[in-house]
């Protein structure tokens, strides 16, 4: 029956004019309704774009809104990026995080767009929720390989989010209240049949709910401090004006803001051994120390675009988009420190220090694109376009630090000492005001042309080329990016595909591999930091099984040039030097195999996904050596990634439905770097001035009586005092425990005259697996251990929504 229904749809669409068929392909039911074609008694399931057996495209999926909403996630919040993580080749940075890492690439290598405009930070709540509001999503096309030439500027993936056009004739909306956030969405006509709007917003109250609860139950409340006062909101708007059947003007706006103001923490440490006979006289002292610190971490994203869609005739289309995106990141630390000391030689010592450190990262991106499509021949669909863009990236460090010292060294009680100290009063102050970083512009122009070519019944190809030129810091870079995908279909159920793509990227996101406090900052290419490029080869086997089950098996091998990492010991907080001097440029490679078994239609839907992959880095260029120039695993390396998601729809009555979803995910643990070993090393003997100690300068001198000792070359061995060292063997060699969790979601839908209400219960991590997200050094009794923070234990959550 279902087969018949689908055939019927196809037949209906085949009889309709082309522009209506295109509207149907876009899922734009309102256009169909406008023309009196009412299809609401038939549900059109699944993909808007078919990347299966019949398509030449490999390594791509299309994600529907219903798929996003069916996946149970953190606190019941539907999440676009977390849904993507359940597909092959995609993994999260850590448990519960929304950020995606695709086929061994880093986070910055994903091009996330809202109706074609770049979104730089697609995360809220320190990455635990994605910034894309699913309520406004029309569909998502996700490419992780075999990139057509129309896509560029990132190496690893394209997340092409289509924002839903508002209804031109009727008003609809949605209200939803969950444990994490409240959401509202409304759409409808501004001028009936001509202009529509779609407006949505979300506001979280995570801190309000979670803070008092979490604080009670964590072993170390301080470890939770960065999480307990987080909140976000975001707004989406889209306005579309339809001049006629051929011309349409759309405006898209997105603004999202994250606020994370930590409660200031303070500690006081006070002790005295003055007068304690058990302590030697010259070691008796009294100390009072007070520290206070506060941190705030805020960011905002802005995406705005205006685009004109024109269909000149049935063979030529043009889309012109002017967009502006902005990302601002602010991290501020405020510290004060007071120290008072007394001892038997120094009756008065007072030191105070206050500092404010600000780390800012701004990106502004202005782009103009024109994409044309030509259907001039039945076997060819030509596309061509141009993109002009200018990006300004400003990573900046601002430090204000003031200190004051006053002390008096004087006779207090020197009757027990042989040597009388010289009375001395000292007062000293120091002030540091420092600002580093300036705007770096990256200007680029990219041209592309591609052709979808139906060679024969069994062969298809998509080939093209993208040519891009970049200008940054007075230096030009040129990128020639050929793209080829071919498909051979021995039968209508089977396809064998292969692809080769070269991609280039003009910006980097520097990520710390530190597992205790990861950090990241966006930086541009410069005259010293070259363009990042990748070459990827892939092959795929697609099979459409009976019962509408699609199977896809893929393999890939990718090389990356000019990838960027922090040098050992470096961080973005280093104010002494420019960021370009603390990074290393190197290469990488990644390879893997992927399996996807998917059923999109019917009462029981879902998918099984498995990825085996490796991702490696090698930094062996002059002045850029890491890990002694030997290859090491990248932070994005995860060996196994498995996900099983099944949803069953129960029709309880004509008006009541129930969707039950079970999802189990498994990922090899996250890689990172932590100095887990404590050992004693040596240096070759060097006699050196080691600075001041108290009031006396001292030299590390050879003071032997035998001068010949100085002539012996380093004594033929490592000498001197052994150096206590915290170390590790290889960068990213510490692997956190594997993560896995079973999530269940149950949603009851009730239809009424007022609309459709949904009541949901989501059970996250049903068997309470302690999945570690971050680690810190903690205590277990008197023993010092590595503690793992597991922010997502078993978490039940409720949500209610109403569509009208």
């Amino acid at each position: 029956m279902r087969q018949l229904a689908l055939r019927f749809i196809v037949m209906v669409l085949a009889m309709l004019p082309t522009h209506i068929v295109q509207a149907a392909e876009r899922g734009d039911s309102t256009s169909l309704l406008n023309r009196g074609v009412k299809l609401d008694s038939i549900v059109v399931y699944g993909a808007h774009t078919d990347f299966g057996v019949t398509s030449v495209q490999m390594s791509a999926i299309t994600l529907s809104k219903s798929q996003i909403q069916s996946v149970p996630v953190f606190m019941g919040e539907p999440d676009v990026l977390k849904t993507l993580q359940k597909f092959p080749g995609v993994q999260s940075s850590n448990d519960g995080a929304a950020g995606i890492f695709v086929r061994g690439g880093d986070y910055d290598q994903n091009y996330i767009t809202l109706d074609g405009s770049a979104l730089y930070n697609a995360e809220h709540l320190k990455g635990y929720v994605s910034a894309i509001n699913p309520d406004v999503v029309q569909s998502i096309n996700f490419y992780r390989g075999g990139f057509p030439a129309r896509y560029g500027s990132r190496l690893s993936s394209v997340v092409d989010v289509g924002i839903k056009t508002g209804d031109f004739h009727n008003y609809h909306g949605l209200l939803s209240v969950g444990t994490l956030s409240a959401r509202a969405q409304i759409e409808g006509p501004i001028f009936k049949g001509k202009t529509s709007f779609n407006l949505a917003g979300r506001v979280s109250y995570f801190g309000l709910i979670a803070r008092p609860v979490l604080k009670k139950f964590y072993d170390k409340p301080d470890a939770l401090q960065p999480y307990e006062n987080m909140r976000y909101y975001d707004i989406n708007a889209k306005v579309v004006h339809q001049f006629n059947d051929r011309h349409r003007l759309s405006g898209v706006f997105y603004y999202g803001k994250d606020v994370d103001d930590n409660t200031p923490s303070s500690s006081t440490n006070e002790y005295s051994t003055l007068g304690d006979e058990s302590v030697p006289f010259d070691q008796q002292s009294a100390h009072k120390e007070k520290r206070q610190s506060a941190m705030s971490n805020n960011w905002h994203n802005l995406v705005s675009s205006l685009y004109w869609t024109a269909r000149f005739n049935d063979k030529i289309w043009l889309n012109t988009n002017l967009s502006f995106s902005q990302y601002k990141y602010r991290l501020t630390y405020e510290n004060t420190y007071l120290n008072d000391v007394k001892d038997n030689f120094r009756p008065y010592y007072h030191y105070e220090e206050s500092s404010v450190m600000r780390y800012n990262n701004d990106i502004s991106d202005l782009a103009l694109t024109a994409d044309a499509k030509f259907s001039l021949h039945p076997r060819h669909l030509l596309r061509g376009g141009i993109k002009l863009s200018t990006q300004r990236l400003t990573p900046a460090t601002i430090v204000d630090k003031d200190s004051y010292l006053s002390q008096f060294n004087g006779p207090l009680n020197y009757s027990k000492t042989e040597q009388m100290p010289i009375p001395l009063y000292l007062e000293d102050g120091d002030s540091l005001h420092y600002k580093s970083g300036k705007g770096n512009d990256v200007n680029s122009i990219a041209l592309y042309i591609e052709d979808d070519y139906d060679i024969s019944t069994h062969f298809k190809a998509n080939y093209g080329v993208r040519i891009a030129a970049y200008g940054a810091s007075g230096k030009g870079y040129f990128s020639f990016e050929p793209r080829v995908s071919i498909s051979y279909m021995p039968s209508d159920r089977t396809a064998i595909k292969a692809s080769y793509t070269r991609m280039a990227q003009g910006i980097h996101r520097l990520m710390s591999g530190n597992l205790v406090m990861p950090s990241d900052i966006w930086v541009p290419i410069t005259n010293k930091i070259p363009l990042m490029t990748s070459d990827m080869w892939g092959c795929a086997f697609n099979y459409k099984m009976p019962g509408d089950i699609n199977v896809a098996i893929e393999g890939y091998y990718k090389t990356i040039k000019n990838v960027l990492e922090y040098q050992n010991g470096a961080s973005f907080t280093m104010s002494e030097t420019r960021w370009q001097d603390i990074v290393a440029v190197g290469d990488g490679r990644a390879f893997g195999a992927e399996l996807l078994v998917e059923r999109r239609f019917g009462n029981t839907t879902g998918w099984l996904s498995y990825t085996w992959s490796k991702s490696l880095r090698k930094f062996d260029r002059e002045g850029n050596v890491l890990n002694s120039g030997k290859e090491f695993y990248s932070a994005a390396d995860r060996r196994n990634n498995f996900s099983l998601n099944i949803t069953h729809h129960f029709t309880l009555s004509r008006k009541v439905g129930l969707d039950l979803t079970g999802s189990w995910s498994y990922q090899t643990g996250r890689r990172g770097t932590i100095p887990y070993a404590y050992l004693f090393g040596y240096n070759l003997r060097e006699y050196e001035y080691l600075g001041q100690h108290g009031f006396e300068q001292y030299w590390d001198v050879y003071a032997g009586k035998d001068i010949s000792g100085l002539l012996t070359t380093d004594f033929g061995s490592f000498t001197g005092s052994p150096l206590p060292i915290y170390s590790f063997k290889t960068r990213n060699d510490f692997v956190l425990p594997s993560t896995h969790h079973l999530d269940i979601q149950c949603v009851v839908s009730l239809k009424s005259r007022l609309g459709e209400s949904s009541f949901g219960l989501s059970l996250y991590n049903v068997y309470n697996r302690k999945n570690v997200s971050n680690i810190y050094v903690g205590h277990e009794g008197s023993k010092i251990v590595l503690k793992g923070l597991c922010p997502f234990p078993f978490m039940p959550s409720l949500f209610v929504s109403h569509k009208f």
């Binding site: 609860v213 139950f217 964590y218 710390s512 591999g513 530190n514 406090m517 922090y566 040098q567 050992n568 010991g569 470096a570 961080s571 907080t573 002494e576 603390i582 002059e622 002694s628 770097t673 100095p675 887990y676 404590y678 050992l679 090393g681 040596y682 240096n683 070759l684 060097e686 050196e688 300068q697 030299w699 590390d700 001198v701 050879y702 003071a703 009586k705 001068i707 100085l710 002539l711 070359t713 380093d714 061995s717 005092s721 052994p722 206590p724 060292i725 915290y726 170390s727 309470n768 302690k770 570690v772 680690i775 010092i784 251990v785 590595l786 503690k787 793992g788 078993f794 978490m795 039940p796």
Partner: protein, 340 residues
Amino acid sequence: MTKKFPLYYILGALMLLASCETTVPLDSSIDTEYTIYALAVAGQPVKAHISHKLSISMGVAFDHLDLDAFTKQSTDFYKKSLLIDDASVGLTVNGGLTYEMAYDTTLCCYTSSYTAQPGDELRIDVAPQVGCKAASTVTQVPTFAAEVSKVAYDVYFDQIATMADRKWEHNWRDYDAYGADSLMIISFDFQDPPGERNYYRLKVRSCNNFKATSHYQGGDSVSTACDVFFSSDPLFYDSRLVKGYGSWSPYFSNVFDDHSIDGKSYRLTVRSRKRLEPDTFTIIEMQSISESLFYYLKSIQLYRISTDDVYSNPIAIDGNVDDGWGVFGALNTRTYIIHR
């Protein structure tokens, strides 16, 4: 407030059952690995320190001590508890003969009867013990020692005030402020062999020998030395050393490779302290070092200036020990002495 929101109770009760922290296990196999610090200097016996290592938990405990106590106690602890004096250690030369290395209680290290020769490929094997698995490490003694030639120098006496104005010196604190020191500017040539990458460590040691006053060891003759020097030659520039260590200047490293001077004769100019006592001399050594020693020394130089910043990438101390930790380095050197 919680009374108004029973949801808190529900969530709280459920999350109480679900403790939100866990102890992350460390790979216990690393506790069974040896630490080897060995050096092969051409013309000298090979020496090796062999010890246990600890997991981070034991190391962190030392952080609660102050600097002096930490230094004293950690060294004592190392010598008493970590240093291994009964290991079975063999030195294999060029894949052939194996020499047993004996423990020297004075030097606290194992010494071979074999004297390292330029070009030797040397392998140290440490046999497994209870609680420790076997470890091995290989190094090659550099085939040549760069010869220092055409040495020229100037001495500037008693110019402390001028030095404080930083007229000559990048980091005037390199020189003590007692008015007795002076500056020595030394230039010399050395020849880098063409071909494969060569690694160097330059040592410029200013020494003296004086009849000490009563303050120093009752009037005995005492020798002093300082290895700190400075040069503005780009060969020594290391962008990672953003801070100075002791009186070593920022961005300065005396360990470098030949990537910018491959196969050339190169003239270097360095500045060192020069003491005024009559029996003074300066030793110049352009040491050819093995690749593993180069990376090891570079990482140590970076490590010693690192700060305890939670955002920083940790620093790996490079090494070349299989199934263990540490480094087996090699160097070949000639000494040039300026007597004055």
